[in-house]
């Protein structure tokens, strides 16, 4: 029997501590509150507590999802965990989450390391598992704590990123038409150096001689022990890759922009989103900007925006939504879903 798959539910979680523009302006006296908002579209960002990890945020989001009553932990037969902030190098964080969430031991579980394209990749993996009869109820958890990687003086990055998590339930569906897909993917490792956490893994371990202090092209103090982002290069990549990806997914789906009810891009920052909207000539009413109280939560921006738009009635059941993630890697992916 031919199977389809669908997004059955989404729950999100943000850590408690909120970093405001007012606090940033106090730390950086030559910046003012209005200017920070004007440049980023962000009022506040959520920052993980010292004792918490991304997995804790993911567990909290998954717990909220189960509390919605759509499914119980014992019904999950596969856990996909997307993070670049694992609890350990090993074991796999998804294995620890299986136990903490009370998922069955018959459950498959794996981590995958992607950033801003991770949610769309997760949907693709889940669809593949369901439609090849390997799983029926998949829990996709996206969670990040980039704040841990950011140098406290690197204000250009610190203003953008927020910690957070989303849990998405993807289930088998008997719908006559696909509710997830098709997909378009893209990868260009030449861009790896422009958004990177250089130290800590095997190429440059923390505290080794290779970890040296230097100044970023933007004039910010950095070392290999902290996240490095070349904003102009990321912007250039986005303006080049994303419009092509949008045209490609529409062509692949035999649709035009008029057939799409709503578009959710990875919420990188307002500046990038505005530039993309202008370049693609997208109408404002179809276009999502949802980051004033979140900031950029990396792999969770798309499910967070999706959940909020549905909750607020901006998008409705049966509508066709285009999702597009892009960033660190460089890695990008897009899909079209039909909302339940």
């Amino acid at each position: 029997m031919s199977l389809s798959s669908c997004i059955a539910a989404i729950a999100t979680h943000l850590p408690e501590y909120v970093l405001t523009n007012e606090e940033l302006a106090r730390e950086y006296p030559d910046w003012d509150v209005d200017k920070i908002y004007e440049k980023t579209g962000i009022h506040t960002r959520a920052i993980v507590a010292p004792h918490e990890t991304a997995a804790d945020l993911g567990i909290a989001a998954a717990t909220k999802l189960f509390q919605q009553g759509v499914c119980s932990p014992c019904e999950i037969d596969y856990l996909l965990y997307c993070t670049q902030s694992p609890d350990y190098f090993l074991p796999t964080t998804a294995c620890i989450m299986q136990s903490r969430l009370g998922l069955p031991t018959s459950c498959g579980a794996l981590d995958f390391n992607l950033g801003c394209s991770g949610f769309v990749y997760g949907l693709s993996l889940a669809k593949g598992l369901i439609e090849t009869h390997q799983a029926n109820r998949i829990l996709l958890v996206t969670a990040e704590t980039y704040s841990r990687y950011i140098h406290p003086d690197d204000r250009s990055v610190r203003t953008l990123f927020s910690d957070g998590a989303a849990a998405t339930l993807i289930t088998a569906s008997d719908a006559p038409v696909p509710e997830i897909g098709p997909f378009i993917f893209g990868t260009d490792g030449q861009g790896a150096k422009h958004l990177i956490m250089p130290g800590g893994a095997q190429r440059a371990r923390i505290g080794t001689a290779i970890s040296t202090a230097r100044i970023s092209p933007s004039g910010e103090p950095i070392t290999d022990d902290y996240l490095f982002m070349d904003g102009p290069e990321i912007f250039s990549f986005t303006l080049t890759a994303v419009p092509k990806m949008i045209h490609a997914i529409l062509e692949h789906a035999l649709l035009t922009l008029d057939d799409i009810d709503y578009i959710i891009f990875h919420q990188a920052n307002k500046f990038i989103l505005d530039a993309l909207r202008k370049k693609l000539k997208l109408p404002e009413e179809k276009y999502c900007i949802n980051m004033d109280t979140y900031g950029n939560t990396v792999s969770s921006t798309i499910p967070m925006a999706l959940a909020k738009a549905k909750q607020e009635g901006i998008i409705k059941s049966g509508q066709r939504i285009l999702l597009a993630g892009f960033g660190v890697g460089y890695s990008w992916a897009a899909t079209i879903i039909t909302l339940r």
């Binding site: 440049k39 250009s156 092209p217 933007s218 004039g219 070349d230 904003g231 102009p232 290069e233 912007f235 250039s236 303006l239 080049t240 500046f271 505005d274 530039a275 202008k278 370049k279």
Partner: protein, 71 residues
């Protein structure tokens, strides 16, 4: 490209008066940093529909250098 419109927007980005922007205007006399560099890339994309090379834009010293880059 409408050069006058572009220079008006560029002046706004650099936080200077449009009348100040001659070809010899040194970018660093205005608000020229990583954010305004990104903003300038966005302007160039909007006005000329081209994505400029980041390194080439970083090497620009004057407004004239920017205009030559997008000619």
């Amino acid at each position: 490209m409408d050069t006058t419109a572009f220079l008006t927007d560029l002046a706004d980005t650099l936080e200077v008066e449009a009348s100040d922007l001659s070809n010899d205007f040194v970018l660093e006399q205005g608000n020229w940093n990583s954010l305004s560099l990104v903003a300038t890339m966005a302007l160039i994309d909007e006005h000329c529909d081209v994505t400029v090379d980041v390194l080439a834009l970083r090497k620009c010293v004057t407004v004239g250098d920017v205009l030559r880059l997008i000619e």
